[in-house]
Amino acid sequence: MLLTIEINGQQVSAKRGETILTVLNRIGVKVPTLCFFGSLSPTGSCRMCVVEVEGLTHLVPACSHQVEEWMQIHTHSPRVLKARKALVELLLANHPDDCLYCDRNGSCELQDLSEELQVRERRYPSSHKPVQIDKTCASIQRDPGKCVLCGRCSRVCTEIIGISAIDSVGRGSSTRIGTSYNKGLNYHACVKCGQCIMSCPTAALTERKSLPRVIEALGNPDLYPVVQFSPTVPGAIAEEFGLKSNKDIMNILRSALKKIGFRQSFDVSLASDITIMEEAALFLERWPRKTTLFTSCCPSWVRYIEVFRPEFVEYLSPVKSPQQIMGALIKQYITSSAGIKSEKVFVVSVMPCTSKKTEADVEGNGTRSVDAVITIRELVKLIRLLGIDLNNLEPEPAENAFSISSSSGRLFGVSGGHLEGLMRSIHFLNTGQELNPIKINDLRGLKPKKESRMRINKLPVNVVAVNGLANAIALMDEIAAGRDDIHIVEVMACPGGCINGGGQKIGTDEKMLKSRMKALYDIDEEEIVKVAHKNPTLNELFDKFLSKPNSERNREVLHKDRSKIISE
């Protein structure tokens, strides 16, 4: 039902049940917000979006107050502006004045607000006390001293991820965002997806930096630094530096990585192709008998199953994540066949992910496959630090065969992509014919849960792709309650998949997600090799280094032993 309200003297029609903020956004009136965040439920706790409604004695928060008939709203009256400014000043009174030394200098919402509301002096004396920084976790660092208590991280962690690793602790003026028993993030529960970092307006949550170690390794003449990057990296770099995300960007990125000092660069998609071949073999070995396979490319998802649902560990694909496979390939085969000792090789991976940092630390029996993981944000910082001008770089084509990957492998960057690539190969390996049409539209798009009922040799294969860990938890509850018609489940913990990972650019919105997704699907459209089983490099690898998919040799190199976890 439509009703009429008046905003700043202008008559506007609104729907019953809408919040004031929704209407304001629609008609293009911008009010500052802080605790309001995308699809999360509004709490109205920061009061930054307050507006004046005639007839009401107090100011109301636009994000959580619903419109009523004939409301007369003033969004930028002197009273409102004064209140908003005072709010920012009070937040600043509890905030350290160390912007110049801060990780989020230049991308901080508190800075933006204080600039927007023209805070020019400290009217309230500082009551900030230094707080211990939580560095227990290998992926995420918490600095409660910089927290403004907007609660966005805890709502993301509860509503989208479904874990509640961080939440409000205490009451009143002693409230803070904390972990269970204040024991540090690594103590348990956290799956390290990094979505809290993406939602944090300040630097209270940041990734643990691996950049200093990488810079040190780059300057060490005894080491042979190489880099592997996720398929989402070229697009993200293009976006960050204002380049066109076309075929050239991959070669510009390679050129930039070479300039940085990496001796060789590899696209992780090759390892994704191997993952597809392994998982396809594993699946076809059991199918069409009743079987359930959970993909294992997302380390946050793997951690969730290992910690919270050990009863499902047996369903989890034993194949390592592409990052770990690629690291093993580089160290054990690619560089060693070129005569470089594996101890000298320093493998850096660039990921849109914070969870991969922990994964690289935890996996490997004494020998690390990946020596350091940096997020896309860290790579951007490194490029800027070294003064590399991407606009004037000569694109450099890949110099080795290990740079060839199918577009299926690249699709791992988007939710549903892993499954799409996997189904293409499963279909071919089972029937000898390519999937036609090769696109699986059911599995595309940003929907949180995508199901596809396919038929291979007239037998049904039901697959589900889920993104946002909370949705996967709901699916696990369904399976635990007896749902048994699903053959393969693909889960990516971040909403949308790796294109929205915890290591992507801060301030990612839906429009950016759509363009990142489109960029990956465009590659799939243009690429000649669209399926993993047609990747010529795989044949060489299977001949010389590995063996047939799911053979003993492959299990040794590519699989992760999960039996230990079950017994723990």
């Binding site: 509640s164 690793a165 205490g170």
Partner: protein, 150 residues
């Protein structure tokens, strides 16, 4: 503990607070292990439970002494100088607000109001209320209690 869990076998999230209350009643205080067990039982993340338990003053994560002393710091008691009573107790027992003496006999806590404003300042030891005391009475009270416990 199992018996208490059985009572709340429906596992509704709203049973969280009564469940924690009963466990605390039986155990004296809450521990990390208890939070974990409740989390598994009710299927609520541990951090949410910890958030609830730290929100309410009634829940505690520290062992109490045999004699639990509560000093009121509400407005009325504050004006009647309850801070000097607090300081005296801290001095006598060598204990800080929120902790227990080494012999585990006394624990000290400040609370915000016990509803006895006309009797300010109010001090409660276990279930006995003391009011209209002078600071010098405190030594005698504590001595009596200590003897009682031996």
């Amino acid at each position: 503990m199992e018996a208490i869990f059985e009572k709340y076998s429906l596992k509704k999230p709203e049973s969280l607070i009564p469940l924690l209350q009963e466990i605390q009643e039986a155990n004296g205080y809450l521990t990390d292990e208890i939070v974990e067990k409740v989390s598994v039982h009710l299927n609520i993340p541990t951090n949410r439970i910890y958030g609830v338990a730290t929100f309410y003053d009634q829940f505690r994560f520290k062992r109490r002494g045999i004699f639990h002393i509560r000093v009121c710091r509400g407005t009325s008691c504050y004006l009647c100088s309850s801070s000097s009573y607090l300081k005296e107790i801290e001095k006598l027992l060598k204990v800080q607000d929120g902790s227990v003496t080494r012999d585990k006999k006394f624990s000290l806590e400040t609370v915000n109001c016990m509803g006895g404003c006309s009797q300010s300042p109010v001090i409660r030891i276990n279930d006995t209320y003391y009011h209209h005391l002078s600071v010098s009475d405190l030594g005698e009270i504590i001595r009596t209690l200590r003897e009682k416990s031996e």
